[in-house]
Amino acid sequence: MGKMNIVQAVQEALRLEMERDGDVVVLGEDVGRDGGVFRVTEGLFERFGPERVIDTPLSEIGIVGAAVGMAAYGIKPVVEIQFMGFIYAGLEQIFSHASRIRSRSRGRFTCPLVVRAPYGIGIKAPELHSESSEAFFCHMPGVKVVVPSTPYNAKGLLTSAIRDPNPVVFLEPARLYRSIKGEVPDGEYSIPLGKASVYQEGVDFTVVAWGTMLHRAADAAEGFDCEIIDLMTLKPFDEETVLGSVKKTGRLVVVHEATMNLGLGAEVAALAAGEAIEYLKGPVIRVAGPEAVVPMARLEDDYMPGVERIKRAYEKVMRY
């Protein structure tokens, strides 16, 4: 056991999986000698060499597309996209190929690939360095989407993602990378994909959140007796845990930083409406980013749902 941050936790999961399985390779821009722009892959190049920690040209279609081919062949590529805002060129490869090669080949070929990317707003970075477009990937049948929120679950979830036989998009909240520390067990362990965790138990209402917003939602919860669910795997998400909690509390708030329209909050709300409406005492409330292009640094704090905005939602849901 030791305290570490998410950068270290992700790094440790990569190192342990690379030690365990000689087929795991890491590739991306600046991941080798430089150790990645967030230093997540620091030390791996020295430890495993340039054939397993591969510095690539600046070529997102190429990197993601090549990883599909590698994965189908049996290698286990862990791709790093430098920021989520630069993943879009690779979308076609993920959507049109990684997600459906299993379907298209009737199970003959699969794509056990991981695409990691720093994600989300909150580090006052330049344009397109603050995207939270997790919903795009959640919309793709055949792809799993994971967002860790603590060092402990970052390590365990990434371990599972690498071992998973399906393509996994693993989004690491850049704002949390070094801002929180937590206990992380030594050695390998895994946290199953598709399972949420109850971050805090409570009775009055249920809050569903992930990544950075999980911590905001928890900060806003002071003075409320609410149950907070850390979704962790966004696709496929743990409907059972969410429904179980909603049936218990009768109220639901979903918090995410992405713009509200067709964000994952809509899916969670629809699940509650479709499967538990008779338990609901009032409307499901979504707290989300505004309907705007993610702004640069000066307006970033206004864009991100803050503790005040989340509190207002809690107060509102409690009026029912």
């Binding site: 821009e29 040209p57 600046l58 070529s59 190429g62 630069f86 060129a89 309907e291 705007a292 702004p295």
Partner: protein, 355 residues
């Protein structure tokens, strides 16, 4: 039957002023003194802007900044070849291009401070906002040139990108389209030898980026990117050709990024100091100064005057930028669509952003 040769290619390289400030008369264009002085003065201005940006960043007065130190000849030399009416598609590295074109420096500082109001080009200046996703602007340059051709206007577009950008599919598709439709587009690559920690050789197994033009059937050439006169000439020729309807050109300017990739980077982790020092003596101002001195255009007093004027101008712009009122949160909604959506109107109320 022996193996036939279907075609042969060569990659041309232009250098006019060498590192000692000596011009090769066989390629030296007849440039007016005023233009040479303008190039010199804009380089000093751009460099002054850049130095101040670096210190403002250290002081927390702007955000992450991408320095173009060492690349001023490539940026200013090409920018001064651009005519009114031409369109420019820069990447984030091109603050120097924008300064040479007369883009207000206060807006550049705003931009680098994370204030979107800095992204609006003033009327008459057809400069797209700097592209952050590498290479994605290349097709835009092609498309604007296509529109110019459609309208039968004697204009051209110029798209800037780096050696890293040449690895992106967008770049290749843009060159291919530009060749097929023979549009008046210039693709200007500043090969500054590095893409963050990736050296140029890691981007392509080809000897040059200029030769990529061959595969797309368009003109391509390399130029000494630290020789402002050579860059000016190559860009002017390419723009002229484009405007005569002779099609696109890819220009590769060999230059060097003397600073870290951005203020968030630490280049000493991945590149040898000796390499940086070897390039430092080739930086563009040294040779331009020597060359102009030989022509009687440079004196110490002249440079001091230029430097002082640049500092004053930059200081005035910093003051103007820092004097701006903070952006209102509602600014986020102002340009999302041509008019507010119903949801945005609701959110303005809900977030208390109405004024």
């Amino acid at each position: 039957m022996p193996i036939d040769t279907l075609d042969r290619f060569e990659v041309k390289y232009l250098r006019i002023i060498d590192e000692n400030g000596t011009a090769d008369p066989s390629v030296m264009p007849p440039l007016p003194d005023a233009l040479l002085k303008n190039i010199f003065e804009k380089i000093v201005l751009a460099r002054t802007f850049n130095q101040r940006a670096m210190s403002l960043q250290r002081e927390g007065r702007i955000g992450t900044y991408a320095s173009f130190y060492g690349q001023e000849a490539a940026q200013v030399g090409s920018a001064l070849a651009i005519a009114e009416g031409d369109w420019v598609f820069p990447s984030f590295r091109e603050s120097g291009v924008l300064i040479a074109l007369g883009y207000p420096m206060r807006r550049l500082y705003s931009y680098w401070a994370g204030d979107e109001r800095g992204m609006q080009a003033p009327p008459g200046l057809n400069v797209f906002p700097m592209s952050v996703p590498v290479g994605t602007q290349a097709p835009h340059g092609m498309g604007a040139a296509w529109a110019m051709k459609y309208r039968k206007e004697k204009k051209a577009s110029i798209t800037y990108f780096g050696d890293g950008g040449s690895s992106r599919g967008d770049f290749h598709e843009a060159l291919n389209l530009a060749g097929v439709f023979k549009v008046p587009a210039i693709f200007f690559c500043q090969n500054n030898q590095w893409a963050i920690s990736m050296p140029r050789q890691r981007q392509t197994a080809a000897k040059t980026i200029a030769q990529k033009a061959i595969g797309y059937g368009i003109e391509g050439m390399a130029v000494d990117g630290n020789d402002a006169v050579a860059v000016y000439k190559a860009t002017t020729d390419a723009l002229d050709r484009a405007k005569r309807g002779e099609g696109p050109t890819l220009i590769e300017a060999f230059t060097y990024r003397l600073d870290d990739h951005t203020t968030s980077d630490e280049a000493s982790r991945y590149r040898p100091k000796e390499e940086v020092e070897a390039w430092r003596v080739k930086e563009p101002l040294i040779r331009l100064r020597l060359f102009m001195e030989k022509k009687g255009l440079w004196t110490r007093e002249y440079e001091e005057g230029v430097g002082k004027a640049a500092l004053d101008a930059v200081d005035r712009e910093i003051e103007a930028y820092e004097g701006m009122a903070a952006p209102e949160p509602s600014d986020m909604f102002r340009y999302t669509y041509d008019e507010l959506t119903a949801r945005q109107k609701r959110e303005l109320k809900e977030f208390g952003w109405e004024r």
